[in-house]
Symmetry: C2
């Protein structure tokens, strides 16, 4: 881990503040290594202080790098106030998109001399550029997910319910050392596949149907995320054509993925192909999203946003076509952006598998 | 489902506002029945309006009760502004503990004529009084969890890792129809049991050890939650004594559970027993918490808070003793408060099981 506290410090000047208060746990983990469920990190020019409660006394002292550890017990904020950690500080930047109004009002009451400066996406561009050891963890998480997909191909059969398949997906991940799933698996068969966020139901897989499988896990804190669409028996002509179109759009977008491209331009690569194929209105969501300590993080790949993507950004590329009441197809890989080109962390095959 | 929008309306007067804006999805589900992942509910004296996006057009119209459904597409807030839904409204109460500062600032910008009134715990006392059909769902979720515990007793053996046991717990819940786990299972063996929030590790269960098992699931949106502590082979004298003391404290607290008691008084019933037994300093957390559409909700049973508990409140009772580096014992049931007494929704046995 590089000196991440040091990489945060330039933000002090950028936002014209004397301190930055971090409350969002994935960002705190990124900044100082703490993995527990309660903590607060204050970064100033000449010091950095981490606070947690008694449950994490041993763990915090073992994990935290680059900040002094304080374990004040039940009331952390009172300790910050009484310990004079913010004495002389006039302006503090905080995470506007990860702080509730109730928390903010509590701070305002306890620190009446401080001006609290709300900043949305405070660390997103720092956290978004993954380092080699972070990519290695995402790769390990995706390797578990790839292995589970290979296992699934051997057990999927007509008559299983979507819920049974989802249970198998979860079990196989946990058996292979995943900490937990990175989101609830999607197993969407036949017409359910036309709902991009379908929940597994008691519907049984039937011969001739397409099945959308979307799942991932956490390994060592980092997430995997993959979608494959398979056919249970011969799927028919239009399903094959739609599959080929989604695959072509996805591979074209991956081909275009490199540092310096904008999120909107990358989305357009896939969207243009699908529109040219006549299914534009059925690609009803953005192209993808960043993946790391969170399953969904910056950057969002979408026609709504125009961020320039840096080297190290690690994103999903996941176009889909959803035909209401009929079926859906989505294909998703995780891609790391490099200065020249990209690397695909997903190993599972993309030929249409007919089981 | 009773007229829940109608039960919200008295809050308009209580907070001296013309509208209430709900953004927290479990509370929105409670109020109008919507189960999707994006929505907004505005309650006024003479109308109630629900907003979501295109993914939920069909689902929202099928599910929502007591409010008019609007599907404006991508930008919900713009639609609320342009649709004049808040015209003439001067003050709006919102959920201060479930709204980010970034959201609040967005509202302030879009509705400059509105005064936004932050209220923490806005619906908690309404949501906290469970109706019969809600208790029935918690009972069904707990029945799944009880069945999984019974299954576990047959498969637990020395040599299994904590992670393997956790994988089995998740798999068995999903196989029995649980929608998902209500939290990541805790499987804490030997000294790991002394950490109240231990994560399953690759540590193997060994003969003579106590194992803390804490897990639950969601069925039809409602959560279960149970802890049992079992012994893998003969556990030794102090472990037996500590187990007996925790059980005595837990059963005494359940015995005292009824509408009208305060959270602090109920916590004290268990805490006094454990202190009298000489282990007071090792009961390092509160007695329990409300359970419903969320795994942790109002009321908190703790010496820090002094809420009077109403009939219908559904809470966990879960004292524990944690001996650092040695072992832990926790026993947890879900209890519904009645005007006279209570009902225990948990069926799993509480005799010390030596496997």
């Amino acid at each position: 881990m590089t000196d991440r506290i040091g990489r945060i410090r330039p933000l002090l000047q950028e936002h014209d503040v004397q301190a930055i208060l971090l409350t969002f746990l994935p960002d705190i983990r990124w900044a100082c290594g703490f993995t527990g469920s309660n903590g607060l990190l204050i970064v100033q020019h000449d010091r950095a202080d981490f606070f947690s409660d008694g449950r994490y006394a041993v763990q915090a002292r073992r994990q935290v790098r680059g900040a002094e550890v304080h374990i004040p017990g039940y009331e952390i904020l009172r300790h910050v106030a009484e310990g004079a950690f913010l004495d002389g500080v006039r302006r503090v930047a905080f995470q506007a998109d990860h702080t509730t109004v109730a928390q903010w009002r509590d701070w305002q009451e306890r620190f009446p001399a401080v001006e609290w400066v709300p900043v949305a996406g405070l660390l997103q561009r720092l956290v978004g550029r993954k380092e080699a050891d972070e990519v290695a963890r995402i790769r390990r998480a995706q390797a578990v997910t790839d292995a589970v997909f290979e296992h699934l191909l051997a057990v999927l059969r007509p008559g299983m319910t979507e819920q049974e398949v989802a249970a198998e997906i979860v079990y196989q991940h946990l058996q292979r050392g995943a900490e937990k799933m990175s989101f609830d698996p999607i197993v969407a068969s036949g017409p359910n596949g036309a709902l991009p966020h379908a929940r597994p139901s008691d519907r049984r897989l039937a011969a001739g149907e397409m099945v959308v499988l979307d799942f991932g896990c956490f390994v060592d804190g980092y997430a995997s995320d993959m979608t494959r669409t398979v056919a249970i028996g011969e799927p028919g002509e239009e399903a094959r054509a739609v599959y080929a179109l989604v695959r072509q759009a996805q591979e074209a977008a991956i081909e275009a993925t490199r540092a310096g491209i904008s999120s909107r331009a990358l989305d357009a690569v896939a969207r243009d192909r699908i529109e040219a194929g006549g299914y534009g209105e059925y690609f009803s969501h953005g192209l993808g999203h960043g993946v790391g300590l969170q399953i969904h993080e910056w950057p969002r790949l979408s026609y709504h946003v125009d961020d320039v993507l840096p080297a190290g950004a690690t994103v999903t590329i996941e176009p889909g076509i959803y035909l209401p009441e009929r079926f859906g197809v989505r294909i998703e890989d995780i891609i790391v952006l490099r200065d020249e080109g990209h690397e695909n962390l997903t190993a599972s095959p993309k030929d249409l598998l007919v089981l």
